[in-house]
């Protein structure tokens, strides 16, 4: 989780990732940030995030992102 927040902060600083639950719906992350984030996550966690997973629900909070990562790791 710490690592994830580091990645997020690297991409887009000024956001309180620990508490924010509307990263996408609140326009904190735009589509470019998402592109970066996905590339980073795939490298970091050795997963593939298919385009279909890119929905607000999966990215609205650090917690949701972590859940998705864990799920994808399991599927692999």
């Amino acid at each position: 989780m710490e690592r994830l927040i580091e990645i997020l902060e690297d991409i887009q600083p000024d956001v309180d990732y620990k508490n924010c639950t509307d990263l996408i719906d609140g326009h904190f992350l735009n589509s470019l940030d998402i592109i970066s984030l996905i590339a980073e996550l795939e490298d970091e966690y050795d997963i593939t995030i298919p385009a279909i997973e890119i929905i607000p629900d999966n990215f609205n909070s650090a917690e949701r992102i972590m859940k998705m990562i864990e799920r994808l790791q399991e599927e692999d």
Partner: protein, 543 residues
């Protein structure tokens, strides 16, 4: 007995949801038949009515729609079978072997997906674009003095093909990704593809959004009936009072790009954008209102786009379902392809957080807008329209890091109301320019019009006879403007999250009825219909 009528249908009369035949004959009959059918059979009645509608409009081409649904159905089952096979094959395999085996299975599934998408998009390309592509090849051939010419076949397009093809592709893709289970019930898929209110102009729905709802339709409820009818009325006002009233003016100026000075062209460009919005969003009100009567909630296609602060925001609020489709099935798949991901990772290291992902994002954006332009029509002006927005959105991203320090230096408060209004107006102007090219009869004509705004910016044709030459009068413009203001006020309220319809519901019956009577009489009196008016086809049905 002459059976040729079976092939022909009744022509284009019904494609407009505001045509008399649809509103006062087809829809009421459909609703009554639907209402008296026992609950269990309602979905089949809805399906039959949808196919009937398609047949009335497109005749024998209804077979194309049914075949599309059959193909979608089969591809779903095929993918499902492969997925089941993968599951059983992988079970019990040690982890190391699992990955390689999975890749092998996925490759097969990907091939099936590609085939399915190719068939549907391919048919769309052939039917809608072969004339354009082959025509362009012929112009190139003639430019090189080549004596050969490609034969250009003429196809008749089924109504709504641009809309239901995208639905078909989204279904197959979603099944491939395991987002939805393949449907084993053919009538349900057919209904998802053919639901009659949305077939002509969308919204473009995903299987997960509507298929279940449509299959579980029930009794028409009083509240949904009244709400739906109200929404249709509101859409009717937009379309008949504003859009159709402005049509002669827009048509005249765009058909004669050389006859008017810059001032008139600006007026016409603004009027066209207003007309397009009122026509399309009005039709959407009718579509969503109709669906609401059946108790089906379709996704919204508009979210007050003219309150957008940037062009990219505008496109998230205008024709939302199309934008979402492009985002889900083009933008993210392109950016998350292996090669693009590597590009993003390496570019980020060199260019930093902002410009790094822009390389892959830009490429994906280019694909999206190329497709968006082409989707609207087979013509260079549509491609130009797409590229125009691509450049705007990309350059918006490019200069974003530069704008911030400048704003800070100039002490501009970016969240002040004044700055917001500035942004909204700027966005609106950029959109209007885009729509000017969109409407123009070809790029050359668009350039001509656009050029005249600058080279000939006078208002000298604003004399007594101007409006007469434009085929409208003072009163037409006044009533259109008044109606736009009404819609604008309602939009502001909606923007502030005040739902007029729910607020109205709480008022007394007398008050509510008075509002409805006023609205109906307003449409009856101020609508551009009957004598002296030519009915205008819905603008998005041609796409």
């Amino acid at each position: 007995m002459d059976l040729s009528f079976l092939l022909a249908g009744t022509g284009k009369t019904m494609t407009s949801f505001f045509s008399m035949t649809y509103l006062f004959a087809f829809l009421p009959v459909c609703l009554i038949v639907y209402a008296v059918t026992p609950k269990k059979a309602k979905k089949y009645v809805l399906l039959a009515e949808s196919l009937l509608f398609f047949w009335l409009v497109s005749g024998a081409l209804v077979l194309y729609l049914i075949l599309s649904a059959v193909s979608v159905f089969c591809f779903g089952l095929w993918l499902d079978k492969l997925q089941q096979k993968q599951k059983t094959a992988l079970k019990g395999l040690p982890k190391e072997e699992k990955k390689a085996a999975k890749q092998k299975h996925l490759r097969k599934q990907r091939a099936v997906l590609a085939l399915g998408v190719l068939i549907h998009i391919g048919m769309l390309l052939v039917l809608k674009y072969s004339e354009f592509f082959l025509g362009n090849i012929n112009s190139i051939l003639s430019a090189f003095n080549c004596p050969f010419r490609m034969y250009i076949p003429k196809f008749i397009m089924p109504v709504g093909i641009s809309f239901f093809t995208l639905q078909a592709v989204s279904y197959i893709t979603d099944v491939y990704h395991g987002l939805i289970a393949a449907d084993r019930n053919f009538p349900r898929i057919l209904l998802f593809m053919s639901f009659f209110p949305q077939i002509v102009e969308g919204p473009i729905c995903r299987y997960g959004q509507t298929a279940e709802q449509l299959w579980n339709v029930g009794q028409i409820k009083y509240r949904s009936l009244t709400f739906g009818l109200q929404r249709i009325l509101f859409g009717m006002m937009k379309k008949i009072v504003v859009a159709d009233r402005l049509d002669p003016l827009v048509k005249k100026v765009f058909d004669e790009p050389n006859s008017f000075d810059g001032g008139v062209i600006i007026l016409a460009a603004v009027c066209y954008t207003v007309q397009l919005y009122m026509d399309f969003s009005g039709s959407m009100d009718a579509v969503l209102g109709t669906a609401e009567i059946f108790g089906v909630k379709l996704p919204e296609n508009f979210q007050r786009p003219f309150f957008s602060r940037s062009v990219s925001e505008f496109w998230k609020r205008w024709h939302i379902t199309l934008g979402a489709w492009f985002k889900d099935y083009i933008f993210y798949p392109v950016t998350s392809s292996k090669r693009m991901k590597n590009l993003t990772s390496s570019a980020r290291k060199k260019l930093g957080n902002h410009y790094g992902p822009l390389a892959a994002g830009g490429i994906a954006l280019f694909c999206v807008w190329w497709c968006n332009g082409l989707w609207h029509g087979a013509g260079w002006n549509f491609i130009f329209f797409g590229m125009y927005h691509f450049v705007l959105i990309l350059s918006g991203n490019l200069i974003e890091p530069l704008v911030k320090p400048i704003n800070n230096k100039l002490h501009i408060k970016t969240d002040s109301a004044g700055y917001k209004v500035f942004q909204i107006i700027r966005t609106t102007i950029l959109v209007i320019i885009g729509e000017l090219f969109f409407r123009a009869n070809g790029i050359a004509s668009g350039m001509q019009l656009f050029g005249r705004i600058f080279s000939d910016l006078t208002f000298r044709s604003f004399d007594g006879g101007l409006l007469y030459r434009l085929g409208v009068d003072r009163y037409d413009l006044i009533i259109a403007a008044v109606t736009v203001v009404i819609v604008f006020i309602i939009s502001i309220l909606n923007e502030k999250c005040i739902s007029i319809r729910e607020a109205l519901e709480k008022k007394s019956l007398v008050f509510r009825w008075c509002i409805l009577y006023v609205l109906i009489l307003y449409i009856v009196v101020f609508g551009a219909y009957s004598f002296g008016y030519i009915p205008v086809d819905p603008m998005y049905a041609q796409f």
